[in-house]
């Protein structure tokens, strides 16, 4: 547990006082991901002087905040050995309901925003029920939810969502406080809260137990069925909230607004060092993965290559990052770091 705190105190993994030669794989992995993102942003100065500036860092962080929120939910679902494919549909649902029910008039914004989040969480809970009690593979259940919700949103809006953003969301996404966008403070608070929930609460530890070995967790007294619902509901609520953030960011909703977030939400979790099979990984690593992916995207798009080449480079870098961050390699590197410091 000490090692977890080190990330916050000084990015210094060697302060680990357990006296063990082996260093926690998660920590090194998270540090590497953060290091890569920082290096990427610094190096981008060579490409164009406009890059690597404070403003660009803020832009990257603002864009990354969508992915950070999403990948918290996705990460929890992956942690228990599932996969949430309903994220794009729930982003759209959150966005469409926000513009349709509230809109620019700020009608009932203080109770309708939470209501929309609850609606999204309920949809996620339905996926969870299908997975837990109907024994449908998570992959298929969330995909089915996704198809149904996307279709319902299409029918509900007759193909073209109307309405704009409530002013509260515009304030969240556009306003600055002390020169930094409000959303960044908000995301940092959310990250700390989410990190605490995942790593330090009883529920978080039980989720790890569930993801590592379901049967063992059940025997150890974890109410597995009820617990397994939570990640799906949380993930859906996170996606719904990102829908709201996107409404504030672009002042409106579209039916395809969530599509481009499906694969990045999984990629952020995997790059952050979690196993896709569940039971391992930290949220801090995932946050690093989200920031790395976003900064990669902005740097690549600034190079001025055609869309095709940009995509190729992005794919190649994802594979390369995965190869570099592979388990044994990271552990070996971490152990060498310790040995070298001593």
């Amino acid at each position: 547990m000490n090692a977890h705190r080190d990330i916050m105190t000084g990015l210094d993994a060697t302060a680990d006082e357990r006296g063990s030669q082996k260093i926690d794989h998660d920590i090194v992995s998270a540090l590497l991901v953060f290091g890569l993102s920082i290096a990427l942003i610094l190096c981008s100065r060579f490409i164009s002087p406009a890059l690597g500036s404070w403003d660009q860092v803020l832009t990257v962080l603002t864009l990354a905040s969508f992915l950070v929120v999403l990948s918290f939910g996705q990460g929890l679902v992956i942690l228990i050995g599932g996969l949430d494919l309903s994220i794009p549909a729930l982003i759209t649902l959150g966005g469409v309901l926000t513009t349709n029910w509230i809109g620019t008039g700020d009608f009932g914004v203080w109770y309708l925003l939470p209501v929309i989040l609850v609606v999204c969480a309920l949809v996620g809970a339905v996926s969870g029920v299908g997975v837990v009690w109907l024994k449908i593979p998570p992959f298929i259940m969330t995909m089915a939810t996704s198809i149904v919700i996307a279709s319902a949103a299409l029918g509900y809006t007759n193909g073209t969502p109307r309405g704009g953003s409530p002013s509260a969301l515009l304030w969240l996404m556009k306003e600055r406080f002390l020169g930094v966008p409000v959303v960044i403070y908000f995301t940092i608070a959310l990250v700390l809260l989410a990190w605490a929930i995942q790593s330090y609460t009883a529920m978080g530890r039980r989720l790890y137990a569930l993801g590592t070995n379901r049967e063992a967790a059940r025997i150890a007294g974890v109410t597995v069925n009820r617990l397994e619902l939570a990640p799906y509901a949380i993930s859906a609520a996170c996606a719904g909230f990102v829908g709201m953030m996107l409404v504030g960011y672009s002042n409106g909703a579209t039916l395809r607004m969530g599509d481009s977030y499906m694969l990045p939400s999984i990629a952020a979790v995997v790059i952050g060092g979690s196993s896709i099979l569940g039971g391992s990984g930290t949220f801090i690593g995932t946050v690093g993965g989200a920031i790395l992916l976003t900064s990669l995207g902005t740097v690549i798009s600034a190079i001025g290559l055609s869309a095709g080449w940009r995509t190729i480079i992005e794919g190649a870098i994802i594979v390369a990052a995965l190869l570099v961050l592979r388990g044994e390699l990271v552990v070996r590197l971490g152990n060498r770091l310790i040995a070298w410091k001593r």
């Binding site: 995997v270 569940g278 869309a307 995509t311 994802i318 594979v319």
Partner: protein, 335 residues
């Protein structure tokens, strides 16, 4: 995916049951039943459904998805997910549209090129997963993105023209009754039936059920896995080839809708997503069912906006039904 493995993979040998009963309660049997029921509904609402023309049209529409789902089945049985299907279909579609080769010989050459493209992508996936130890979703996500990028480099906006021979002959019928596209599917099914009896075929199921014990039993696990990815990639290539015959034009994002639909088709066909159990034939029927469902809903007067709601429910119901049947059988056995 742990929940699925509890109920689906651990099926003991059932010697007492007749082969017929086993075929009916297997995933393939269930999806075949659903297909027949849907077709009956379709014929009821639209009597022309029984004509050769409508049937050919249906087969033509379903073939690209069916081939892609057939390919995905290899990887899913070996316990993995292959996302590169979307990239390979886009890439081959674009290649077909930008470099059309005329005539029968040209069509054959194009088919070979598509197979080679898919095979190379599959080999890269296989090496990344089996030799370098990446997770299947992660590795194939990377190759999928690279392939989509390559497709954009070759053709940056929808356009191009697929060779006439491919467009006309491959969507036609043979002797006025047999859809040519259907012959492709038949060939794949025959190859599959032969393959699943080979050592590699048995090894495929073995590594999907339990890689560790398969390895101890002498299965060359990583070679079988690489083979599965290559076979899958080649089938995606053929799927892209047949899609080009359908659309007659190129689109750098043509493969994107395939990503979700192939997995839906595979699951609908009764293949366990946690590996070790399933059939390519079921996946082909699953793909056919998804496409047929759209037609049925349209002929039944349902607004196309709401098609997805029905697709989602059919998907869930098919799996719940399969689970329930499996559970009942298990219970019966215990008694």
């Amino acid at each position: 995916m742990s929940t699925a493995s509890d109920t689906l993979t651990a099926r003991p040998l059932r010697r007492r049951q007749s082969p017929l009963l086993r075929a009916i309660v297997s995933g393939t049997g269930i999806v075949a039943l659903i297909y027949i029921i849907l077709y009956a509904l379709y014929a009821f609402w639209q009597p022309s459904a029984l004509s050769v023309f409508t049937f050919t049209d249906l087969v033509n529409n379903s073939t690209p998805l069916a081939l892609a789902a057939a390919g995905e089945t290899f990887v899913v049985i070996s316990r993995g997910f292959d996302l590169s299907v979307a990239g390979v279909v886009s890439l081959t579609n674009v290649v077909m549209a930008v470099y059309p080769l005329q005539g029968a010989g040209g069509a054959l050459a194009s088919l070979l090129i598509c197979c080679v493209i898919g095979g190379v992508v599959g080999a890269v996936n296989g090496i990344l997963v089996a030799r370098l130890g990446l997770q299947t979703i992660a590795a194939t996500l990377g190759t999928m993105i690279v392939c989509q990028g390559l497709a954009l480099v070759i053709l940056d906006a929808p356009g191009g023209m697929v060779a006439d021979f491919v467009t006309y002959k491959l969507t036609d019928t043979l002797f006025g009754v047999v859809p040519v596209a259907g012959l492709f599917l038949l060939l794949v099914v025959i190859l599959w039936l032969a393959f699943r009896r080979t050592d590699t075929g048995i090894g495929l199921y073995a590594i999907g059920a339990d890689e560790q014990s398969a390895r101890f039993s002498g299965v060359a696990a990583s070679r079988v896995r690489i083979f599965a990815f290559i076979a899958a990639g080649m089938l995606y290539g053929v799927a892209g080839f047949m899609l080009s015959a359908q659309t007659a034009t190129g689109n750098p994002t043509a493969g994107t809708p395939f990503l979700m639909l192939t997995f839906a088709a595979v699951a609908l066909g009764g293949t366990s997503l946690s590996g070790g159990r399933g059939s390519l034939i079921g996946s082909i029927l699953g793909a056919g069912t998804l496409m047929l469902l759209q037609k049925v809903l349209f002929s039944g007067g349902v607004s196309s906006f709401y098609t997805g709601i029905f697709q989602g429910f059919v998907l869930v119901l098919a799996i719940v039904f399969g689970n329930a049947v499996g559970w009942l059988l298990k219970k019966e056995e215990r008694q």
